[in-house]
Symmetry: C2
């Protein structure tokens, strides 16, 4: 094979894989935004066909040979192509080790499993879902073993979401959070400070909430000619390429902040995808590098910026002009305190910035034990409920609001949850380093967010997945994850809000 021909074949492979992914992602997106209810089975069939075509193409012997050839030519290839080859090699090894029939069976299982989970959650019937979850765990462990029998299965699974993260480092990380945040939550609970947030739960017409969403996207500098905002039950962000990013939100008439902060959260994901370098376009590197780094960006814009006093002061005039009656007599400072009120609660996606990582800790410990074989799916609800009592001090009244609340496990995404907590911790660490270079809060106060975006663009966004998560941290915040930045950030913020003693 000639080198030039191999590079052409690499480009064709990337183009075709991208086309399949674009189509599949769009089928999903359309399914949750626009499609009529009965469209579900037909969409599933098309998704199944496309996913099989794409799996077959990618795991073919020819692709293996092409990658091996290019690996042998490393010295003659530029850095970007070598990184493309490295990324494709990882996916290839991960997928090609699975026998095609088992791959198909697993896809079918996931389809069923997600449907059964939805039903089980609606009916509050964990028993319905348990056998499916059990098989999802079995398959996940088996596939991890196919990939590398010498490593713990959970370690292998983790690499899919946050490459380079070890179980040991996660154990340490969550141990730190347990030591520091569980007592902090306790202090907040027993503080004499009472935050009134009742004004956030009046009637807020959706038309004005939509206007507010458009406004905050403008404030953040999201390029709307490349980013559409849609509506779904569960907000998310998708990108087809850097010129076509989709974020969604959900408007609740009786809750002003639910959609406001979901928009800020998804805008963070969107800013990342909108800002990958032109030179990566069309390659497998043109997307965020990991779930954890992605989540650091959504949480950075949602929480660190979005729930800061300077940002609230910046956007509050707009909120007051949209909702003059509802916000009469409410100051920006009161609004700031209300959106930061902390109360241990049952549902992860509704929890506040302080207690959020405790929800993740529960999931991390449980899924690790499921995968390691130290916990049977039958015993999962009891273990879940015990941990909610231990870490958050609350009773779980039923499985629908307990172990059945999230879709991740039913979708086979074991190893995904830790990236949420990692993202929060990364974002605080990034803030610390950003403040060395930039008068962050002056920028926010003046409504000039461009320097903040530029700082992130230069160190994170433009690299897409050309850098691995560890390299990104190297680039922007001094190397490895260090949970102390996150702990300090939370202690300072909640110490002030709740007048806690050091």
């Amino acid at each position: 094979m000639k080198l030039a021909a191999a590079i052409t074949r690499l480009r064709e492979l990337e183009t075709t894989m991208h086309a399949y992914q674009h189509a599949m992602d769009l089928l999903y997106y359309d399914g949750v935004t626009t499609a009529p209810a009965a469209a579900f089975p037909g969409r599933g069939e098309t998704l199944g066909t496309l996913s099989e075509l794409s799996y077959r193409l990618f795991t073919s012997r020819k692709v293996g040979e092409l990658l091996s050839f290019l690996e042998g030519e490393q010295a003659n290839l530029d850095d970007q192509i070598n990184r493309e080859v490295r990324k494709l090699r990882e996916s290839y090894d991960r997928q090609a080790c699975i026998p095609e029939e088992e791959f198909s069976l697993f896809q079918e299982l996931l389809n069923e499993s997600e449907a059964v989970w939805r039903q089980a959650k609606a009916d509050n019937q964990y028993d319905l879902f348990e056998p499916y979850l059990n098989r999802v765990v079995e398959y996940s462990v088996r596939f991890a073993k196919y990939y590398d029998d010498s490593l713990p299965a959970y370690h292998v699974l983790l690499q899919e979401y946050e490459k380079g993260t070890s179980m040991e480092s996660l154990d340490r990380f969550f141990a730190d959070l347990r030591t520091e945040i569980v007592p902090l939550v306790q202090q907040v609970l027993t503080s004499s400070v009472q935050i009134d947030d009742s004004f956030l739960y009046q009637t807020f017409p959706v038309a004005q909430q939509r206007e507010l969403a458009d406004y905050v996207l403008d404030v953040l500098g999201v390029d709307r000619s490349r980013c559409a905002l849609g509506e779904t039950e569960h907000p998310f962000t998708l990108h087809f390429n850097k010129d076509d990013v989709r974020i969604t939100t959900h408007y609740e008439e009786n809750n002003l902040v639910s959609s406001l902060y979901s928009v800020l959260h998804e805008a963070g994901h969107a800013l990342y995808e909108l800002s990958t370098a032109e030179s990566l376009r069309g390659t497998c590197l043109a997307e965020g590098t990991s779930m954890g780094i992605h989540e650091s960006q959504s949480r950075f814009w949602e929480n660190i910026i979005g729930r800061s006093l300077p940002f609230i002061r910046l956007i509050y005039p707009k909120i007051q002009s949209l909702f003059p009656r509802q916000m009469a007599g409410v100051s920006a400072e009161q609004f700031y305190r209300a959106v930061n009120k902390s109360v241990p609660s049952l549902i992860r996606t509704e929890s506040d910035e302080l207690t959020y990582s405790l929800h993740i800790m529960v999931r991390y410990e449980l899924e690790k034990r499921l995968v390691e074989g130290n916990l049977h799916t039958k015993d999962l609800p009891a273990a879940w409920n015990r941990m909610y009592q231990e870490y958050l001090g609350i009773d779980v009244p039923d499985d629908a609001r307990g172990v059945l609340q999230d879709s991740h496990w039913s979708g086979g995404n074991l190893g995904y949850f830790p990236s949420y907590a990692l993202g929060s911790a990364y974002s605080a660490q990034m803030l610390f380093y950003m403040e060395k270079d930039l008068a962050v809060w002056d920028c926010v106060s003046r409504g000039e967010l461009l320097p903040i975006w530029s700082w992130l663009e230069e160190r994170i966004y433009r690299f897409g997945s050309a850098l691995e998560p560890g390299e990104v941290l190297e680039n922007c915040c001094g190397g490895r994850l260090d949970s102390s930045y996150y702990v300090k950030y939370l202690k300072k913020k909640y110490g002030e809000l709740y007048h806690l003693q050091e």
Copy 2:
């Protein structure tokens, strides 16, 4: 090859081709309903890749061999499979005769050509578009010759949109219309009857127009769990399968009837696709059989039912309740006359039921001459303007409102236009036969449209493309196209509206 294995391979082929089509149609749909503006090039690349994959798969030697094998087994196969094979064979012969490179070049040309047409129309610059149209015509003729050198190229092109229609029958059909309808238009123009339709052009808030759209879809019995209504600049209908049909409309604040009748029109297309038989699901037969038969359904529901006095009487209370101020003092009969007002005009899509087919006649004669080499694209605007003067008695002030108004030619759809006029004529012929079996207008007056749908479902809809257009006409209205039904229908309706002498 074993027969059972061949049938399995046929099913796999149909499933895969359907998945590609589903994805490509969804990319198009999303592009015109939801995608951000800058998404255009990325979508084009994915569409190009998928279309190439699907073309390569379908035109492969293996598919040719499979079809030949199944054709040899005709006696051992059931009727439906034989019809699937027949339909696939037609597409195969049509596509496989084109060299792959020329196919790709043509796709690229169409992409450019559509973009240039859009610009040319916006800037009123036919010269910009002319060289592209010239090449589109060249390619179309060349491809028609590849398919069958012994037939006139325009005849070959026609078969793609309305199989079984000959140029001779179309010449006769349009000659009849010219003889009968041109003088009728003249009579209407000089009639002393003046219809006031000014009340249709007040301010009608879009929210209420949306409610009206939902209401008429309910009246027609469109199953909304299988049919979504979206918004686009140019209304259209798409189906992914019988459980996922999409119609779109465009609301204009100053025009009540534009969206109302576009919804009725698209609902006609939708009813057809929603009603193909379960047994056809997943096969290449699960869709309407031709453009002409499809258009007969959209025009049946839009014009024959939708613009009838009984239907207006049925829905008028709803219109009055949605727009009490605007419709104050307007009776159902006045509304009926207003929506049927006939005035020769420049734009096909805005024209009334009476003059519509004259717009088509112009396009038919011109595209036939272009393809036959009797007219050069450079001379097209002058020829267009002359014919608008001759048939409709109006001057075309500029090409944007003349020859550049439609997208069809820029999209390579030469041979498509006649199906619009055929559809109108079919629909009048169908009404004549339906009235023999059914008290059509009693049903409409009572708001019971189910028997009308059932009549059509039984004779047309359920067959999908298992029957060819001629067989459908056989099934429901006595055989071949006969323009006299259409002429009689128009003479009666407009004679009454404008008090014309027989």
